[in-house]
Every structure is written in C-alpha cells, then in structure tokens.
C-alpha cells in the first residue's frame, strides 16, 4: 500500500491507482469529467488539475492531471493549492462557455455531473458575453434523447459506445470547438447498451426518452434496491416511483454483477408495470373467499389442489405455493423440455468441478468459448462483459510496456494488436462474431460435436469424436490450443438453443480443462430471472399436471405469475383449463392464461413487492418494494399466506409446515394498516413473514441454507431507524393527495423490510443490500457511488450484494459425458427449426413496454441460402411452416449464416407462443405467394455454412 501526501497529510492508498481515483476514494473532492470509474482515464477534459511537488522542500510544484498521474509511493500533491483551484475554476468556465441556460427543462438537472462539478470547481459567474455555439439534434430512436447544445466535449459517450459497448454508429465528428457526437443518420442506436449513455454523459446531451414522458426529478423519486427481472443475469437496479407509477430504472452498482452499466432491455423494459395490461383488482371480487372455500372443501373431501409455480416469480412466492399445496402437488411451471435443460445446467454446476463465474469474473477471463448461445440477445450484459474481457485481457506485452490498467488512452492504442481468444460457435451469426477470433455456425448437433472434440483434445479421457471434417478438426485444435495456454478459461453456454448435447459438450470442455488448469469456469445462460431458483426448489413438470387433470382430476389449480400458453401448446392448455374444476391465476398482468382462468388475483410486480431471485450464477439477491402496489395488488406470497391462514395452515402433507401455524395472526392486514410492525398478538409473530419463509426454505432445501443471510432481516434497524426510500429533499408531501384529502395520509408501513416509504429514517450509509440510492453531499449524479465504494470500481463498503448458493463440488475424478451426438444430416423430409432470440421482443414482460414493443421484430422465419434456393423465395416472401402440431405462414428473413437444413423461428415474440423449437417441420412456399423476380434472389456468396 503506497503512502501519498495530500496537502501534507499522509494517506495509504491501494496499489495501482491514479491520483484522482485514490483521492476520491479517500473522500476528497476533485472535479472531473472524462474519467469514469468504469472506463479509465484519457486526460481529455483537463478538469482534475492538482499540484504535484517533487519532495517536501519543493514549494513551487507543477500542475498535473490527477487522472493521469499514478498514485505511487511518496507522491506529494496539493488539492487545495490556490493555483490548482484557479486552474480548475478556469477550465470549468471554458467548458461552460457555450453551455445553454436550460437546466430547468433539462432532464439531467438534479442528477447532473456537470452541475456538481461546476459547483465543486467554484465557477459561479459567467463572464462570457458572446454568442453561444448551437448544434442540430438527432432522433436517436425511442430510448435516447439527444440535445447536443449541452455537450462539453468530454468524449465519454463515444468512448463508452464504441470502445466499451462495441457500437459503431455513434462517433465524434467535426473539428475544433464544433465537435459533434452523434450518428451518421437519424434512427435508433444499434447498440444494446445505448441506454448507458444517459448515465455516462456528464451533462444532458443523452437523456432517457421514456422517462421524459412522465418526467420527475431524481430527488422526488421513491427508490429501493432491486433486481432486474428481464433475463437470468440478475443485474441490480434502482426503480424510481412517483405518484404511484414507475418512472424509470437506474443502475445500481454491484461489483460482482453489472458494475456501472445495464442493458437497454433492463433499463427501458420497465413500463409493463404501468401498462394497461395490469390486473389491478380481484376478478371476480370475491375470488379469495371462493378460493379459500374450495381449498377447505377439497381438504375435507380429498379433492386435489395443485400449484403451478413460475421461473419469473420470487423464491418466496414459489415456496409459499409449494407449502400451500404440498410438495407432491407443486409443479414448476415450465414444460419438461425446458425444465430438463435448466435442471441439466444446475446439476452440472452442482455436481461438476467447474465454478459458475460472475459477470465480473467473465471480465477477467483470458480465453473463452461461447457454445450455442446468442448471448447478445439472451443475456445482454454478458455480451458486455465479454467485450470488457477482450479489452482488458492481461497480456505480457502490455505489462512489459509498463502501462497501468487505468490508462485507457494508452491501452486503446495497443488493444488492436493483441490476438483475441474468443471462440464463438453458434447456430447463426451473432453480434459478437465481429470480435471473435474464430466463429463456427452449425446445427446444434454439430456445435456439440465441436465441443466434444475440443474436450477430447485437451483431455484424452473425454470421448473422441469420429469422422470430424478436417476444417472442424483444425478449428477444435485451435480452440484447444488457446485454452491450454490460458490461465483463466471460461466456457459459456446456455439453454437458448434448446440442446442438452450442446450443454454437455460445454461441460466436457470446462471439465477437461479443470483436470489440467484447475480453474476452468462454466457459465450457463438461463432464460428467466428465477429459472435457477426454480430448479433449486424443484417440482414436477407441467405435462404431469396436464395428465393429472384428466386422471385423477383436479379440484383447484393455482397458477402464479405464469402465462402457461407460453410454456405449452395451445391445445393441451385449453384442455387442461377445461378439465380443472377451478383455476385461479395470481399474476400482475392479464395474459392468455389469466383470461382463460375462472378467477384472477392481482399480484404485485417486482417493484411493488419484496422477494429473492437466483441468477444464472447461482447468486441469490433480494429485491425490495420500491412502491406500494396500487389497487388490490399484493405479492403472490402474501395472497398465499392469507389463503393458507384462512384455510387452516399449510398443507398437512408437509411435516415441516410449521410456519403456517406460527405466523398465524388474526386481522393481519389491519395491523399493517395501523403501522404496528409487531402486531397485537405479538408473541406469535416475532419475525416478518418473508424471513420466516427464508428460514423455512433454508431448512427444507439444503442449497438454501445461506438464504437467511442474503439480506438483513425485516426487523433490522440502523441506529434504531428504518432506511428511507425517499430522499430528504422529497417534495410535495402536503400537496400530492390534497385533491382527495387535505389530511395527509400516513405512508404505508412495510412490515416485510427494513425500508420505509418516507423521507424520515437513517440518513447515513446503509448496509449494502439496503442502500436505496446513491447520493452524497455535493454528488447528485450517479457518480456518487464512489462515496460508497472501498475504491473506484471496487466493492461497496457495506459488502457485496447477494450470496452464491452453488459452489463447485470437490470431485477427485471428473466424469465426462460419454455420448457424442451424431453429425447433423440434412433431412430430405424436412428442416430443423431452431429458436432465435431478440433482446427486444423475446422476453414476456419487457415487450409490454411501448418503447421495447416498438423495437421488437415482426414474426419471421429465418432461412438459410439453401432454403432460399430450393424454394425460390426472397426476403419478406411468405412461406408455410408446417410442424406436427401447428401451421404458420411467416415472411422470410434471409439469414445467410444458417446452416443447410436449419431454419430459425423467433421464440417468445407476440404471436409466436406455444411453439417450442428445436423441432422438425417442413417449409414450403405459401400457397398464394407469387414467384419473385429471379434477379433479386440473393446469391450464395461464400461457401461458409
């Protein structure tokens, strides 16, 4: 730990940092613009000037840029030096010369880094009296708003967008004081990470366009720590609420998961919470009473009550349902084909020797194989992590040059000269292909064979693959070569191509590496926010519920937060719902299943309830209610708790079902209204229900043993106080409800968390899982997070967020999968339909947000050039896709990378539910289609398949 002297006071700082990061972490204020903790230093803005002295006798010193000066042993600097202060004030004044006078109508106002830094630099009075430069704006699509007049030319946006996120349609243009940051044309930005520009830009050039429609200042937002539900990665977010509606999603820093950034699906997919598709009231109004009566009746008469859980519902809701109906009557809510894949993933993580890496770990890898997964569309932030890994992979050349990690400008120069060790093998071309060392596009069987071949090359105990074509053999050899020399190799695969063999091949590669290197990691992408948690709870697949509906018959089916029409074929679902005597759906959104159910209860979304999710890494993370639910909506587990109380407790089949009795409280909801956390019948309920559930889960399921530690218990207080969800500046308390009542209503009391819907409470630094916003005096922008970290880009002072539930097994001998699949052969009788995924559209909830829905593609059938040539069709021509149980007419989308005999069907898009590729089907010209002009037909340009 080097010692540095700041204004003649000695401080110890972590190794390998620049002075700016070191001083900020120590709590000093130095203004800066172009430096970003997630992006390193370039020294472009000249704002972080400080004075550096040669030794203790040097009184003159020299002005240096803090962000480009290493914090080495014995460095003597002065932040307070009058000359340095004057310099910083002058720089702020220059940067502000043409900045418009529009803070009142700027969405950045109140969370603006420029405002903070201008105040910090001491520039208060504008002396510039000439005309201000103006720029035209661009329309950058439905997510990002562009107002170029506000730009201070710090270059953060293009650095993030092109260097870090890999986009190529946002660039710096022009010369001298007219440098323009924009796209070559109007239109949506291509990158999946464009929303981060909103937080990366220190001014209001890029602002959130979805937020603009219901704009609220940052200080007025009620926020709570939360976890994104739009894919399986579990990125941390801050949802912001005002007047009962969700207004925006902001990044919540988690050093191990998403760091400083979010993907656009996570950032802009939030509007499903406000959508008209929400279920707000019980339907029919007496649904709960009816449900309780049915359960009591069924328990008396031996009728069957089953529960169908959901991989997008919290652990608590699923577990409460399992408790209510009993273990034998609990179904996981995914069909067998999907469940098998997810179970495969978690069994491999549980029983194999390979650890599942966090997103941060992925950034530290030095060789990577992506097998069968289109990560850009199924787990976007993983794509981002891969790109960071490529930038930062350690290499001896760089170390030899003596360039520190944070010196982004210098690293950028040598970055292109370093060979990439990213190998991608997918069915069709993905966005990451551009930065890969080698790519391979083939049917899932062949992808698996490549994986098996690599594993065999590394470890001869893994099975060999016979009859591999020469070029594939060579490819496998080059992957194996890269992996054998790597210090930290990682294999990324997932369930999205629907092939168990691909996942086995990925495991074989990782495990064979484990035998040699000892540190191979294995990352599986799962489709939903709690897919892995659901696998840990376990349950029976949906098909068995369908069978039970026919025999022995089902009295009541309780479906929570699940649109089963997305999970199973329409006919079997229709039949199931018909056969069940009663069906209750508890969900926040009215979907096909809810519409077809007899009764509907409104559930709270993740921003309106508290619960726990398990990410693909196996990390359990608690999300907290950011807003009180509107109407009758409540968390699914709250509904189930009340139903179980009224119906006589948890299912008696469960011997451990004691929570049902212990937590029984008469008039639970009334006592909550009163605001008494410890309810009148006190002694009986010494714990919040959510903590009781966690305790039960940890007893019931061995993997959940650490669950009670995932977050502080609901009864915990800091210095006797709750953590306020509202900032001390929260405005309008006595006017918000004044149109309804002038007697300000008491804020709702949350008995299930240590947070309060109030401005009052503990104002200091809360424990990391409970921090409801990042704010510090003088730091109103998202950059305030530096005040909560141990070091810039390091973990939070209050510890890391979330607990890993799955650690690799200590196995002496690795047992490989031995069954190598046969090569894929083009079948004359039909084609193989594989799923394709879209960041905007494939996910169920985000597509209910208008912005995301507008970016979702229309349903299509992706065909390779073989189909184009055999059917003589062109782009957009309708074709008939005929499978065993459905027929569809879809427009053609030509995907030249698709291998022969394979077509791609986008799954999850609205209108394409109930189809489950991979499956075989026939593709023919749609009956009414006219033959296209043969000249327009695309020609096969390369022999690559």
């Amino acid at each position: 730990m080097p010692t540095i002297y700041i204004d003649n006071e000695a401080f110890e700082v972590p190794e390998g940092q620049n002075l700016l990061a070191a001083c900020l972490a120590l709590g000093f204020d130095i203004p800066y613009f172009c430096w970003h903790p997630g992006m390193g230093s370039v020294g472009a803005c000249r704002q972080c000037a400080i004075k550096k002295f040669k030794d203790e006798h040097d009184s003159k010193g020299e002005i240096v840029m803090a962000c480009l000066t290493p914090a080495d042993e014995g460095v003597r600097i002065s932040i307070d030096d009058p000359e340095a202060r004057a310099f910083r004030a002058a720089v702020a004044e220059w940067l502000m010369a043409s900045h418009p006078h529009d803070c009142p109508v700027c969405d950045e106002g109140g969370e603006c880094h420029l405002q903070d830094m201008t105040v910090m630099a001491g520039h208060a009075h504008r002396r510039y009296r000439f005309t201000k430069r103006t720029f035209p704006n661009q329309d950058l699509g439905p997510f990002v708003n562009h107002e170029m007049n506000r730009c201070i030319q710090c270059y953060r946006c293009v650095r993030f967008y092109s260097d870090y996120a890999g986009g190529d349609d946002l660039v710096a243009m022009g010369t001298r004081n007219q440098v323009y940051f924009g796209s070559h044309k109007d239109g949506k930005l291509d990158s999946e990470f464009s929303g981060n520009l909103v937080e990366v830009c220190p001014t209001g050039v890029f602002t959130d366009k979805t937020f603009r429609r219901h704009y609220t200042r940052k200080w007025d937002l009620q926020t709570a720590p939360s976890v994104c539900v739009h894919c399986g990665l579990g990125c941390n977010v801050f949802p912001g609420e005002r007047y009962g509606r969700l207004r925006c999603i902001r990044n919540r820093y988690n050093a191990d998961v998403n760091g400083y950034f979010l993907c656009d699906r996570g950032r802009f997919g939030y509007e499903f919470v406000n959508a008209d598709t929400r279920l707000r009231e019980a339907d029919p109004p007496d649904a709960v009473a009816a449900m309780i009566e049915i359960i009591i009746g069924a328990r008396k008469n031996g009728g069957r009550v089953i529960g169908i859980g959901s991989p997008r519902a919290s652990l608590e809701s699923n577990f409460a349902l399992r408790k209510l109906v009993g273990r034998d009557s609990f179904f996981v809510g995914t069909a067998g084909h999907e469940q098998r894949l997810i179970d495969t993933a978690w069994l491999m993580l549980k029983e194999g020797p390979s650890r599942s890496p966090s997103l941060r770990d992925l950034e530290q890898a030095d060789a990577m194989l992506v097998l069968g997964e289109d990560v850009t569309n199924t787990a976007p932030m993983l794509d981002y992590s891969l790109r960071q890994w490529l930038r930062r992979r350690p290499n001896p050349e760089r170390l030899g040059l003596g360039i520190p990690e944070w010196n982004d400008a210098a690293l950028g120069e040598i970055f292109h000269e370093v060979p990439s060790h990213l190998h991608i093998a997918t069915v069709y071309e993905t966005k990451l292909d551009k930065i890969a060392a080698q790519t391979y596009h083939a049917a899932p069987h062949d992808l698996a064979r490549l994986g098996f071949a690599v594993a065999h090359l590394i470890d001869s105990r893994a099975p060999a693959v016979n009859d591999l074509p020469k070029d594939i053999e060579d490819h496998a050899r080059s992957i194996a070569g890269a992996f054998e020399t790597a210090a930290r190799p990682i294999v990324v695969s997932g369930v999205s191509c629907g092939s168990q063999q691909v996942m086995r091949a990925a495991a074989n590669v990782a495990w064979s590496l484990h035998a040699r290197a000892g540190a191979a990691e294995l990352c599986f992408v799962v489709p939903e926010c709690n897919s892995l948690g659901m696998a840990l709870i376990g349950g029976r697949p949906l098909e068995e519920a369908f069978a039970e509906a026919a025999d022995p018959g089902i009295e009541l089916a309780i479906i929570i937060e699940n649109d089963l029409y997305r999970r199973a074929a329409k006919e079997s679902m229709d039949r199931f719902l018909r056969l069940c005597r009663h069906v209750v759906t508890i969900d926040h959104t009215v979907h096909a299943t809810a519409r077809a159910s007899e009764m509907r209860l409104p559930a709270a979304t993740y921003v309106e309830s508290t619960g726990t999710l398990v990410s693909n890494e196996g990390r359990a993370q608690r999300y907290y209610r950011a807003m009180a639910p509107q109407g009758e909506a409540r968390a699914s587990w709250e509904w189930l708790r009340d139903v179980s109380e009224a119906a006589g407790g948890w299912n008696a089949q469960d011997p451990e079902g004691s929570a049902g009795r212990r937590h029984r409280v008469a008039g639970q909801s009334e006592s909550e209204q009163d605001g008494r956390v410890a309810d009148p019948s006190g002694a009986e309920r010494d714990q919040a229900f959510i903590d009781l559930l966690a305790a039960e889960m940890s007893k019931d399921i061995p993997f959940f043993a650490p669950l009670p530690e995932v977050a502080p218990p609901a009864s915990s207080r800091v210095k006797g106080m709750r953590i306020p969800r509202e900032s001390p500046r929260f405005s309008g308390r006595t006017a918000i409800y004044a149109d309804k009542t002038v007697f300000e209503p008491k804020p709702p009391v949350d008995s299930e968390s240590p947070l309060a819907d109030s401005m009052e409470g503990f104002e200091g630094e809360a424990p990391a899982p409970l921090i409801p916003r990042y704010w510090s005096p003088g730091w109103n922008s998202p950059q305030a997070v530096i005040r909560f970290q141990t070091r810039a880009g390091g973990s939070l002072r209050g510890g890391n967020i979330g607990i890993r539930l799955i650690e690799p097994a200590r196995v002496g001998k690795v047992s490989h999968f031995l069954e190598v699949p046969p090569a894929f052969a083009v079948r004359p009788e039909g084609v193989l339909v594989v799923p394709s995924h879209h960041i905007f559209g494939s996910e169920e909830l985000s597509v209910l947000s208008p912005g995301v829905a507008g970016c979702a593609p229309e349903p299509y059938l992706g065909v390779g050039l073989d189909t184009v040539n055999s059917l003589v069709v062109g782009e957009g021509d309708p074709v008939l896709l005929k499978a065993e149980d459905f027929e569809l007419i879809l427009p053609v989308k030509i995907m030249p990378s698709l291998p022969d005999g394979v077509v791609a069907l986008p799954v999850g898009l609205p209108g394409l539910n109930g189809m489950f590729p991979p499956l075989s089907a026939q593709v023919t010209r749609a009956p009414e289609a006219e033959p296209p002009n043969p000249e327009q037909r695309p020609k096969r340009t390369d022999g690559h398949v």
């Binding site: 529009d102 720029f135 035209p136 704006n137 007049n149 010369t175 405005s731 149109d739």
Partner: protein, 171 residues
C-alpha cells in the same frame, strides 16, 4: 404607583391618536406589489404559460405544499400537466418565487383567502394560472434557454450562433 400612572398616560395618549387598523373589508389596505400573498402562475409576453415544470418550487417549499407533474407538447415545450398548491399549508415565505427560473410562480398582494373548508384552499392549475405576465412583463425563458421550441429553432434565441454545419470541416 408612578408606573401605573405612566401606563395610564400612554393609554390616554393613544386614545387621541390616528387609528392604525382599517375597517376591513369595507376599507382595503394598500400593499406594496412585492407583498407575499396568494400565489399565481403567470404567462410570458406572448401569452404562453411560463411554467416549465422544473420542480424547483416544489423542492424549495419548506412545507412541501406544491406538487406538479411535467409534460411537454409536440414541439418539446415543457409545461405542467397539473399543478397543485395546498394553501392550507402554505406559509407564504416566497421561496418558490425566488427559486423559479422562469418567473412563472409569483406571490401577489392578494391575501384575504379564507374558507370554511380546508379542501377549498387546494388550488389547481386552473385556479393559479393568470392571463398576464405579472410583475415581470418582459421575461421570456425560452428566449435565452438554448433549447428549440415551436417558433424558436436552434440558433434563433438571444446570444446564439446559427447551428453548426455538420457537413463541413472548414476551419
């Protein structure tokens, strides 16, 4: 004893003084224009709403009696969708007027607000918005703001250079 007499003398003197109180409401006091009474929302010289819904009045209000919601028209001009002041909570401190960057919110010398029911003291935008510019006849925020709105394209406001031509690299 002496002090009692002194006090009586003072009272007696005041009996012949001119009255300080007036017979309200028959007689109305004359108040300076900067008196801090009922709050209004004003319009700019061209008759458009001045308020741009920046929320600064709401945050500065010490009793939190102002609530509003921002929205914008199709040309990007911001205005409050609704604007509510709970006068039964207002302490007429004038901070909102000081904070207002567009001189939209102003306190007027109108002070005689009394109601039998508190809900009647809750004023919505329709009650607050007047038809004139109030105390500041000339100020128009959008003339100096630097954002384009209807009738005021980029570079047309005060002290603005014409927009940069993005297609030129000439010095």
């Amino acid at each position: 004893m002496l002090s009692i007499l002194k006090a009586l003398a003072v009272v007696l003197r005041h009996t012949f003084r001119r009255r300080d109180t007036v017979l309200f409401p028959e007689e109305q006091p004359v108040l300076p224009p900067r008196y801090r009474g009922r709050i209004i929302l004003s319009r700019d010289p061209s008759g458009r709403e001045r308020c741009v819904a920046c929320y600064l009045c709401a945050i500065v209000c010490p009793v939190d009696c102002i609530a509003l919601q921002a929205t914008e028209d199709e040309t990007g001009r911001r205005y409050p969708e609704w604007f509510r002041i709970n006068f039964s909570r207002c302490i007429f401190c004038g901070f909102c007027e000081e904070a207002c960057p567009t001189k939209a919110i102003q306190l007027t010398p109108d002070y005689d607000m009394s109601e039998y029911r508190r809900p009647n003291m809750v004023y919505e935008k329709e009650h607050l918005l007047i038809s004139g510019p109030g105390k500041y006849p000339d100020y128009d925020f959008y003339r100096v703001a630097g954002v384009a709105v209807s009738g005021l394209a980029k570079g047309e406001a005060e002290n603005e250079a014409p927009p940069v031509d993005l297609r030129t690299l000439l010095p």
